[in-house]
Symmetry: C2
């Protein structure tokens, strides 16, 4: 607990009403959506109303050498917003204004605390699209999505959050407010700070405002569910669709473990004897969609799909998608602890990755459901376990390590879209090497010499601290 004089300094900035000090209140900020992580109660939570208050909060914390944990909705899956000792959590959710939707320049300017889905709905009403659609979008904030470089189901065709960040307002660790980038689609004035901050996981300052790129909404879309008796056939279908130059907006896979679990939970008529299903959606202009969906069905059939179901209405489409969307929650109901990974490989290595994960599951006698964004190589192997069972958790940790090893062997990455946070920080050098990690640390401490911003996340603990 901080001294009264320190708390009063924060009260003076944001008003006592927005400084949380009670044990019960603080407890809600001791964890995030990541399973199997140790929680840690912060000393204080503050909720600034605007950028100037954020800057003042940062100055107070910096003077008092208090760690700063920036936070939106806390929906990340990498232990990215779990406090460490001596921390103030800075919650951005009060800064929830959509400041502008500029239809001529196809941009939206928003405060960091805007709920992702709210923005999506607002721009869709204008026949525009903000493509990044992480699973948590109904509660996640734009600021959090940017800090984690969130992905989603539309990533294959439309890319991820960083592809849509044009400009940012940032409170630097020194308390200064800078604006970088803006509404021009081209900008080479200085290093690309908008991209450096996107995915920086709150370690370089606090994102307070963003100018985002929008695109024209597609005219139409078609959604299909293809059922495969053989996993290999499903995997080859993925590669074949893309090498036939169809880029679906969504190309998702669910393996048998996932299918069975979803069906047991949701009873939507999934074939529990199938080895894999693919959820495929193509969008765009009428003529293109018409051509593409037929091509997709043909490719699925050529690869021995048992059946390809085409949604004939919006309701049918939502039903097909419901299966994929409920994958995580269905799996999470099975056992108390759900370890969701997002190891990612080049898409040509998807078959090898899926096979490898199955072998790892067998070797460690674990239930692993694999689903995810197969089209862009971003799988979510999900281990079902019980953290009270120490022996099992031992096997889980070994399996996770092997999944990482496998992904890297297959030219992949530790994380496609969930981030490193505290959950994967121990594996960083395996991918980027000691020299790579040192370069990241050099950059971090250049901007945050006291090391107060979300310490221990992404780049780990450092001697500088």
């Amino acid at each position: 607990m901080f001294s009264k004089s320190v708390i009063d300094k924060f009260n003076d900035v944001v008003g006592a009403e927005y400084v949380l000090t009670s044990k019960e209140e603080l407890l809600s900020y001791s964890y995030d959506s990541t399973a199997g992580m140790e929680s840690m109660t912060p000393e204080l939570v503050v909720k600034p109303a605007n950028t100037e208050e954020v800057a003042e909060v940062v100055k107070v914390a910096s003077e008092e050498k208090i760690n700063i944990i920036p936070r939106g909705a806390g929906t990340n899956l990498c232990g990215g917003t779990i406090p460490i000792e001596n921390s103030v959590v800075v919650v951005l959710t009060r800064m929830d204004k959509i400041l502008e939707i500029d239809e001529e320049n196809l941009t939206a300017t928003v405060e960091a605390g805007v709920i992702t889905e709210e923005l999506c709905n607002r721009v869709e009403a204008k026949e525009l699209l903000f493509p990044p659609d992480p699973g948590s979008m109904s509660v996640s904030t734009i600021g959090g999505n940017i800090a984690e470089c969130a992905g989603g189901l539309r990533g294959l065709k439309y890319g991820v959050t960083k592809d849509y960040v044009m400009g940012l307002e940032i409170v630097l660790p020194n308390g200064k407010i800078i604006e970088i980038g803006g509404k021009t689609v081209k900008n080479v004035t200085g290093y690309d700070l908008p991209n450096l901050y996107t995915g920086s996981e709150g370690t370089l300052g606090i994102i307070t405002k963003a100018t985002l790129e929008l695109i024209p909404a597609p005219d139409t879309r078609k959604t299909m569910l293809a059922i495969f008796d053989e996993l290999d056939d499903a995997a080859e279908t993925i590669s074949s669709i893309i090498s036939n130059k169809v880029i679906p907006v969504t190309l998702e896979i669910m393996d048998q473990v996932t299918i069975k679990t979803v069906e047991a939970f949701a009873e939507i008529g999934l074939p529990t004897d199938a080895e894999a299903v693919l959820l495929i959606e193509v969008d765009g202009l009428e003529e293109v969609v018409e051509r593409d969906y037929k091509k997709v069905i043909k490719i699925c059939e050529e690869h021995n799909a048992r059946e390809v179901e085409l949604a004939k209405s919006d309701e049918e489409r939502d039903e097909l998608k419901a299966a994929r969307k409920s994958s995580f929650s269905a799996l999470a109901r099975e056992k108390p602890t759900t370890i969701l990974e997002d190891a990612t490989v080049p898409r040509s290595n998807i078959p090898a990755m899926i096979k490898g994960i199955r072998e790892i599951a067998e070797r460690y006698d674990l239930k692993i459901g694999t689903f995810g964004h197969a089209g862009d190589g971003n799988l979510h192997p999900t281990i079902l376990a019980d953290e009270r069972d120490e022996e099992e958790m031992e096997r889980v940790h070994k399996a996770v390590e092997e999944i990482f090893d496998l992904a890297l062997e297959l030219d992949g990455t530790l994380s496609g879209e969930h981030g490193i946070g505290s959950a994967k920080v121990g594996f960083m050098t395996q991918e980027i090497g000691e020299d790579g990690l040192q370069a990241l640390r050099d950059l971090k401490y250049a901007l945050d010499p006291k090391g107060l911003f979300n310490p221990h996340k992404l780049i780990g603990a450092d001697d500088n601290e």
Copy 2:
């Protein structure tokens, strides 16, 4: 001139054959493609054969506290590769291998010295596209394009170089070699170094290898030239096309000064009494192109285009494009000194920007031809002058300042695609403020504490040096 012992160290690394020491040879590296800049002869030029040699060169230069100027073909337009005193120019052109074109993952892996056009041709033969197409692509290198984040005529639809850089191999200022990013389309492992290095203008190390994203080549395209009696009509046509949700691959403007100059030079039948012409190309699937080009013609006509010429063959298309492509060389023939700017504004402010440039030209009694990538707000106002005429150059400098002021007033940026280099470094704080510039400098000196990499470019001279 360096001492024999220093030169011998470089000889030992790359072989004496690839260390240039004669006055005549060094002279060729004393300038780049930027007009009106003071040249400076380097002490030495070295041409390493591979990444290991680059790393050794960096180590020698670092030990000897010699400035390092990385260089490809030197086609940049911002004074980005002009040496300062005590410099070795490290030329990457011997590293010119296309290492792999991976059709399954849609990636190309290349050494930094590969000529851009050679890569484009190679991937086009496989019906793929590497979209960035800077004007200098027939001689420019990929490494240089990445260092400058080059744009081009296809930027409106397909984006710029940074949108296609997936992974980089970099020699850090400390001589260590790191590989960052790779073939996965999603990667959030660490800060986004590929994007930080893209556009870093050689100030953070040397890019030696790149993994680039490719896209399926469009099936077909249609090219049009629309002629306007009123500049305002042309400007409004640009906005109208995009707000009608047609995103042309190319949407270029030439104003009357440019039209007249090109016609005088090339005699291709351009209407010299027209106030502006737009060059518009749409590409994609047959059906889409068919729909889009008709839509474009209709929009042009609704905005009082005097005539819209549609290319009926590849030859006709090349003819239409020749006018735009020869803009710079035609203007450059008019007077001895051609100052080419690339101030960029949000596309809705294109009309205001064009009008403002005309007023500036009148006020300072200068001939300014404006052409450029109107669709993405990236104009190239080109001032024709004679650097021997001091009084005129005085007016040129004032006009340039006013053009920058105007771009920033209109929510724009100093540079859309040419870079800051040494040419615009004095204007940086006007756009990003003292605090923004300080953040850039902090990042630079974190990675390059001796400040040896392309000093004075992009972030200017610093007290740390």
